[in-house]
Subunit: 281 residues, 2 copies
Amino acid sequence: MEKLSDIKCFSGRQLRYKHDAATLNCEMTFSIFLPSQATQKSVPVLYWLSGLTCTDENFVTKAGAQQFAEKYQVALVAADTSPRGDNVKDDEQGAYDFGLGAGFYVNATEPEYAEHYNMYDYIVDELPALINAHFPVDGNRAAIFGHSMGGHGAITIALKNRDKYTSVSAFAPICSPMRCPWGHKALAGYLGDKQGTWQQYDSCYLIEHTNKVLPLLIDQGTADNFLIEQLKPELLQQACVKANYPLQLRMQQGYDHSYFFISSFIEQHIAFHAEHLSSLD
Amino acid sequence: MEKLSDIKCFSGRQLRYKHDAATLNCEMTFSIFLPSQATQKSVPVLYWLSGLTCTDENFVTKAGAQQFAEKYQVALVAADTSPRGDNVKDDEQGAYDFGLGAGFYVNATEPEYAEHYNMYDYIVDELPALINAHFPVDGNRAAIFGHSMGGHGAITIALKNRDKYTSVSAFAPICSPMRCPWGHKALAGYLGDKQGTWQQYDSCYLIEHTNKVLPLLIDQGTADNFLIEQLKPELLQQACVKANYPLQLRMQQGYDHSYFFISSFIEQHIAFHAEHLSSLD
């Protein structure tokens, strides 16, 4: 693991590292913000998963999250969105919604992608093991959130690993990849056309086939260009009603899909997680 | 004037426009954040000047300023840092610290730059006239702040136009362009080698040759790579002592030159200006 940068920010430190990722067979970069009290004790850790086209840096520079990570004394880890490097197969047409920058937080089974595209294992196992080993965080107090494709990643990963996270939240998540164009393309590309294998990565399916509840908060802007065709929060809402799963879905009037939307509500998400994390104190 | 974008952010609106700038003989872009109450009444306006290599967008995406512009109900204007376009002469070697992205907030007198490089007139006269005419701001309640080259711009412009601004602040400003490499290069390039013409753009000179005081706040990181060679706050401090000018200079332990530093103290700067602007209510 090699440190790339170390910058003071809101009395804490914004750090960036690269490391060889065994699950992805490539070098990966991640960012971590450590609040000021992490110099004296272990702090809870909150994982952020970004959307299509992003790296770890978009959230770090645009979300305005550090001030609230400092206020609530939680570490903030921002991961990349796909395997990286010249050896990693990209979409053949260089599309923004498949391949590099679009790992969709699944473990690929199609032969041409299976060597590198295992973002599910990377986020669930490898990255937390690395973080827990090298930083003053309490890995038993972890939560997860994300945006768009990363909102899908956060919800599916949390629902499948309830022992690992105390709470989950999302901004404008892709709520049912089995039922939207972005999801169809990604799941078909990484998993092949057997749709029976897709449902393990579909938040709506998972909500309906679970019996343990994790606190779940979603913010969705009403002026989001992707709302109707790609995001479909109404499908998740219906699944939650059917499964009697408590969902806090807030439709935010006039907000779009950008980091201006995320920054407007980031404090409330960090406070939401901090509340659940602190109940484990 | 043409609107480029309009995005909801912290209950206000983040807007971006382009327009033909007469003082610069080129098309320019600027951003303005209007807080929520601007739909009902005129609000005070705070001008932000950016540093070398920036456009209006760096501050808008990285500073985390909108939440505090909303909290204190002030409009925030972010300007570009130089004239722009294919017809505008750039540095011949494409240097980052001269030409495009490096207008230094002066009016050029050297013939090859005088047609376009008049950022002083643009920021002092043309842009505020445009803002006052088209947006719900009270042009009589204006303040100015900036970063690095933009900190130099904010301080010199405020000191020369005390009737136009209620207060001025800066993050890591170039305090004496007559006595640092960045300033030497810019002033020689835009104004020629007659150093007698440089002093009108030197904060230290202006502080010593004035008798009207404007509230002045400066934050400077101690881990800033440019501190010793380029920024030299000690020169401004000496000038203020000599002139008996009240300066609030805060050396911030461990902070660098980046937007992580700016974002850490942006609320305090906006609060500082809001306090002085509200005294004109």
